[in-house]
Symmetry: C2
Subunit: 321 residues, 2 copies
């Protein structure tokens, strides 16, 4: 009987589930909205049903599950602890519940760590052993991979790079600190900065791009900046400058072989990467920057589900060992 | 015949040499001024002579040498590349030269990495597997230890934390960038900031503590601040604030179990640590800071030579394996 592994990537807006053979080749793949209003138990039930159906269709035997999910979490206990993007997931013992249903090893990790692992094995990080993955989305998170392994740190705190200070005594951050990278450069906060400037009455073509100011997103800013709008360009330039400070700090601390940018904002591609590289060249002087690749994630929104499958494969391998 | 390992710690002002038995217990220890004017070859000759005498006196057989030295260097090739504190050490093949004289494995590493290793095995880091060592001295350097191993990174760049940006678009740094931690908080730059304020005519008891303004050091600032001098306190408070930004950035990136502070400025002890911990409590909000120890180095000026001996012991062990 063919052996299969399952990956689950749980996000605030959608859940991805995938089945792969024991070498990691994807057999099936499903994506559905999270419907946070259903609550953790029903969402997990639906996810389990999806996996059971996939297994049945494949005729394979499940040997391990990998799960990527927003933190905070207690990986040792396999418990999710109140992620901001999953209201109601408080002390949710996801590993125990999956164990109960499938009786296979379950490996749980932070969604950014899973995405970092996905890019490392299947995406933009394949040529490197040491890399930092940064997701710039609703929030800013990260994953650090050294020697092919996720670095977790005390309380799984490694990679909380959204909370690098890039503006000392700057704007308040949701975490309670000030001037954090996330408070300025997450998709939400790029949009916030644009909306504040527009509310002040500043001229911009962004007004004509939305029916209501509240509809302004980071994509409104990048689109308008690409079309030459002065205000959008200023906001985007500031974004790049703050990102360059944050990434400089990661580079001088770790000197990774690659910085991989994922998440919605990274889809701006060269509009993000070209000026970011220029800013980094002006800032990183203590080491030759040409040895460090600054690249876009290759798997886009799929980094996380690939990572979850790798978590599963590694869990199966360590069980066999 | 008893086996011995030798450690060499090469600094800009002094060189330490030590001999230890194969379990790392120190047999003899010598320290002498670097006399940079003699040049790399004669300095190394004197160092080799010191080691040969120690070996002779101990009656032991040398099996490995560890060397800590200021960077930049090419560890793979065993070559020192123009450290700022060792003028004339350009492309100096120190490993080959030691190999030629002693015919034993030689392990070369950055002095801050060696000091980190010394604190990890013999000092303030003994309870931890993952730590960041920061030396605040003439410059600011660092070493990152994860799972008991020095992290080196691309071009041995890991731990260049003196070049974390803590003041965006701030004062120029010797590296060519701006607003680096080192440009504000190294001993030299703490003194520079004090001298600038004093040159502007500001009142301070620091004037009475030196015969000439050029004699002001970081210790003048900490001494005057301890005695309540308002200007010295302001300069010291700024120092702590910049250090807290830099250390916040290390903590959220790596979440190490401990941050260990060494180097001359760290001898201020609780005058440094107490306000630094308070500033970090106000800044690090994304993870519980009580899980991360912020402590002073335990070996003082000896961290480096202990680290060099550990490099030697590890080199001997990997040769045997």
């Amino acid at each position: 009987m063919q052996k299969a592994i399952a990956g689950i990537d749980i996000g605030g807006t959608k859940i991805a589930v995938a089945l792969a053979d024991s070498e990691g080749r994807m057999l099936s793949h499903l994506r559905f909205p999270t419907q946070v209003e259903l609550g953790a138990h029903r969402i997990l039930d639906n996810t389990i049903t999806a996996i059971e159906r996939m297994i049945q269709e494949s005729g394979a035997k499940l040997i391990a599950i990998g799960v990527g999910c927003g933190g905070p979490m207690n990986r040792q206990r396999g418990v999710i602890l109140s992620p901001t993007n999953l209201p109601g997931w408080d002390e949710f013992p996801i590993v125990e519940m999956l164990n109960r249903r499938f009786d296979v090893p379950v490996s749980l990790d932070n969604d950014a760590n899973a995405a970092a692992l996905g890019e490392y094995e299947c995406g933009a990080g394949r040529a490197f052993d040491n890399l930092v993955y940064i997701t710039i989305s609703t929030g800013i998170g990260g994953g650090v991979i050294l020697g092919g392994e996720i670095v977790h740190g005390v309380g799984d705190g490694t990679g909380e790079i959204g909370h690098i200070t890039v503006q000392p005594d700057g704007v308040p951050c949701a975490c309670g600190s000030r001037g954090c990278l996330e408070a300025l450069c997450s998709g939400t906060n790029i949009a916030r900065r644009a909306k504040e400037r527009l509310s002040n009455g500043e001229q911009s073509s962004m007004r004509t791009m939305v029916t209501d100011l509240s509809d302004v997103t980071a994509h409104t800013v990048t689109d308008a900046a690409r079309d030459g709008d002065a205000l959008a360009r200023e906001i985007w330039d500031d974004t790049i400058r703050f990102l360059a400070i944050g990434i400089n700090n990661i580079i001088v601390t770790l000197a990774p072989e690659a910085i991989i940018l994922g998440g919605g904002v990274s889809t701006a591609g060269e509009q993000l990467l070209a000026p970011l590289r220029r800013q980094l060249e002006a800032r990183v002087k203590i080491m030759p920057l040409e040895n460090i690749r600054i690249v876009q994630a290759a798997l886009g929104g799929e980094s996380g589900i690939y990572g979850a499958l790798i978590l599963a494969r590694r869990a199966a391998a360590s069980r066999e060992a």
